[in-house]
Symmetry: D2
Subunit: 364 residues, 4 copies
């Protein structure tokens, strides 16, 4: 199990990196939603390998095929199945990997857990699995946009030690996609690209931080106890490959403040369905429930585990060996992870929107 | 909904802070497990209000009553229902709160979502809700201890800006409980206690970071995609009140490293069911699955929202008002949050242990 | 697991027949629903043991205690915990049962599955477990009644071979409760009562059929594939103790008809939200979805397994023995099962109402 | 939602009858299970349209394509995605159906629920949806066979009023598949086939009863309360198209017996993991848990709703019209429903096997 996410707006993905196809079933999508199919493909293109000089050269066009659930571009309310064929498979690249465990990769733990592994590549641990998430997320985004004009902006905030300076009030998608590293601070972006290329030449890799801001959030999403909105967002984002940390609002830095400094004072709101705060250390969520302010999150992505340098490791027999990976890999996952973050956030919000509607919008 | 957690080892809590009782149903616990009931009460005592000078003076003895699921201290495999009566209720303290929204508290969002609120106190947002989690977690801990000698250690790593220095290899429960702030670095602990008391006198509050280390973890726990072990741990811990951030292994700091620095080299393991690494930036989890090394996490807790200082806010009619809270509250939630972190981690691990056993230990 | 039912309107029960208490947590109930508490107690009184000469003499007043989720009789949208203390426990009656398996009872299978059993009585297999279902069902009924004036009528249709003749158009609750066997055909009821008392004197037992009719059903409840409305109703009712069969609409008898005889012709409906049919072989459900006509079901209940006659059986050691049960038991479960059927049907409909509202009432 | 079934061994289907493809994702299947792919195709061939003179002439070869989850025929423990392309689509046959509701079909309720419908054919209500179930069921069968030599036999017991006489002790798959109606009583089978062909010529249809017997069932499957094994079997089978009733063991007829006649006396068992009974009115399940005896069920299937005769109905505007269906349809669904029953039973048992293993086979 484990390949499903969401309670009502529910996503189930399938596919190994070097099998026949990867894809997704999105169940529970409301009927009568007109889908712009180009927006789905556009998101897949944003996560596609080979899109720029700083991503893996694996060449996949990742054209989406929709098998069910739509009639002339409108949702039927039935499962929407979507798939992408795997094309540029080079299992030979991975031949020596199969029995040698790449350090900090999933090879070893899959071997221990399942006692068998996909023929080559990362199997379910490959970022190709996220194709299904991004396709479903592209539908979730359109649903949220239609109902509440909700907009989700993710961008690369930091690469290695190169931080950026972004004006959250003026963020836009075109700004984010203006460069290949997806950082809206142009100066920082240039440095980031340079750093990634340097490390790439050196057979090394780097990580960083993606920030995500959601505007025009309806209030009331999330639930008091285990299914707090930030808890489900944390799970969603920590389920992406290579993530090591999650912050909502003030995050770890906020713990250096006193309560009197950290609390967000309320002021009069023009919208009776929303609360309005002066500061937003809460990150748009209080008591697990959205208050209507922007949701503000950060996610840490570690440096890519697969690198071209020699590393000490063991093989499946437990013997110590030295390895040097050949497979095509990203020197830095963050530029391609931007649409993945967008998508997981969209799926969480769409699901909570339906859950809240079910319970709290039925007795007036 | 939202009051249930876990797939097989499944916890459902109930209760408002000022209602008749709070409690939990733990369903799916394996039969034939001998429970030490004192260990359940002991964990509740660790989270109990009024336990020291730096916690809320609300006086609850929090004696657990077990209604079902045990026979002479041994689990039947049927739901274990446990409850604690609320005793020291002072709704009058909260009388003026009902319609005035405490900044950064759940009052406002509950009002927007439900259109009705518990008579007083925090309702489901109160830390009293965690009694059920801690009681169930105390059983999960005994289950893990029995099967794999697994041990979970949570402690206060930082309060406000006072950090500690702890030798993870030598951590012990007695060391953690040796002082009222639950920081095993005695010198830091004294400073922390002093800082908390100062802020308390000033009607203010502070937050900090709890670290959690799990030793003797069986490998193979967690699943590849959405239900990665770190994703479920993140959700579990971000569902605790006042949490703002989660880190596994190297966390946000790890993003300043190169891949060649961050990867954990494998070396020969003496236990064929576990992997062994030189460093542990992975935090014991790779590809979403435990590798057998210690699981290492950090959680950020914000400063308590309810403070004794005057604050700007609005009331339920949307009018701006100034408030000063009277209710009894903790100046710092971390000392009492330690057993909550323990418990949520134990519940996640117990559930994943059963899930892994179900799917991966059936065909030999 | 197994002690939870429903996806959004979700019920979790606990308790052994001879433990401290039995009860339920109802999670997901919409907020702002005014509950008539007397109606909950009234349903419990309808299922209570000792209510008449044809039920078990075990004397329990089954007074409900509500621990959370309500404020002055109005739902908060948070978990509603309800419990009933066990009082008239006579474990001594069951002393010789513990290791001797009553034929066709759960003793043997519990022993095989869990390797341990509740101290006495039926444990979770006891009809006392249904107290939680009936309490939650009483809330579901009020919810359905308020929103759609939906009414659920269950009655005893047949006892042993004594069938009844009931005018479904004129059925009423007072008619059903007019006699202790809960059959609205007074003549048949008298014969049924006589039959039950005869068998009771003889140390024997009998079964029969309960019919359930739901009026004023909103259309659109149920989902196309696995969660068809009749599938969830079947599961709900087959989860009650002692059930052996389920029929929707024409049931098994309908299979003797040709398609041209069985199909329900549509005619013009005055309510644009409902379909109208001349006949109702469909039982109010087509393609798994309610069409607005009355839902019509039948459930077979076997004769009570625990009887006062000598029976051949084995004990826990596998040795063949002869036993004669002493415990107090119902000679016929149907009169007390009527409110259980009502309740399970109400819970299924309430849950599907919320599910349909979530997905299909959000985009207009 | 609604397109998923099972908790650990979990099936999710997708696809409309006239869309691009229909298929399934099977998640949670244990790793290291060698799959005979021919057995999957064989089951699909048993449910395939056009397989004989008494099934719909729609011509689909229903060749299965497996996209993920296997490596050289062995399960990886990851999602197994399987699909079948729709080929022989004749939407024109259904052109006049789209806005006219076939009596007792899903057209009307889908229209009310979703406000939009698949372009033609039955959409998700089509029996084509069951392709995914049968493919997943074929894997479940192999899993059960491998672990416990469990065998599932479903056959046509009655068509219209033509009943059969079958020796359950000697039932075999070759006997069942020896004729096109799948009734192992050859004489009755001939009459059944004749009856179906007569009704077919007449533009009419018929229903009947399928019986299912499971041999070599492990004990301990099923759970005490809501997830009783018979409850989940009832749901699984009542989720198949055209079902109207379900019986376990003695079913409705058993209600004519006294307790002393109905109880199944236990006798000494040679297998300490199973109970042994003289009779089997329990149908192999007691207290919701399998006892090791054969599981014995019956399912009522109504006559096919789509018939070639003129019928009174309404269209989407609510106006009364007369219709006569043109689409290709089965005069009797039972012969093709046999593998569907097999499959759903196999999926329920596989899931409960994993659930029981998870909870009850971990503490020895």
């Amino acid at each position: 199990m484990s390949s499903s996410f969401g309670k009502i707006f529910r996503v189930t993905t399938f596919g190994e990196s070097h099998g026949g196809a990867v894809g997704v079933i999105l169940d529970g999508c409301p009927p009568k939603l007109r889908i712009n199919l180009d927006l789905i493909q556009n998101e897949l293109d944003r996560r596609r390998p080979g899109q720029s000089q700083i991503t893996t050269p694996r060449n996949e066009d990742d054209k989406i095929e929709i098998l069910s659930g739509l009639k002339e571009g409108v949702t039927l309310g039935t499962p929407i199945a979507m798939l992408v064929r795997n094309k540029d498979q080079k299992p030979s690249d991975y031949e020596n990997l199969e029995q040698v465990f790449r350090p900090s990769h999933a090879d070893g733990t899959y071997h221990l857990k399942y006692g068998i592994q996909a023929a080559s590549g990362g199997g379910r641990a490959s970022a190709r699995e996220t194709i299904g998430r991004v396709a479903a997320g592209a539908i979730a985004k359109q649903f949220l946009k239609k109902l509440f004009n909700t907009e989700i902006f993710s961008w690369v905030k930091r690469i290695h030690d190169i931080d950026s300076n972004v004006d959250k009030d003026r963020i836009s998608l075109s700004q984010i996609d203006a460069n290949i590293v997806r950082c809206p601070d142009e100066k920082a972006a240039l440095k980031m690209i340079e750093r990634i290329r340097e490390l790439q030449k050196d057979g090394d890799s780097c990580g960083g931080v993606i920030q995500c801001l959601v505007k025009n959030v309806p209030s009331g999403l999330g639930m008091p106890v285990f299914d707090k909105l930030e808890a489900d967002l944390a799970k969603a984002l920590m389920s992406l490959p290579a993530t090591k940390g999650f912050e909502i609002g003030s995050g770890f830095l906020g713990t250096y403040l006193k309560g009197s400094e950290h609390n967000d004072p309320f002021i009069k709101s023009n919208d009776i369905n929303k609360l309005k705060t002066i500061s937003n250390n809460s990150g748009g969520i209080q008591g697990g429930i959205s208050n209507g302010e922007s949701i503000d999150m950060k996610v840490a992505f570690k440096p890519t585990a697969t690198i071209g340098k020699e590393q000490q490791t063991v093989n499946a027999d437990g013997r110590e060996v030295v390895m040097k990976a050949k497979g095509r890999h990203d020197p830095c996952v963050l530029p391609r992870a931007v649409p993945m973050v967008d998508s997981m956030v969209a799926i969480v919000l769409a699901d909570h929107l339906l859950l809240n509607h079910a319970q709290c919008d039925i007795i007036k």
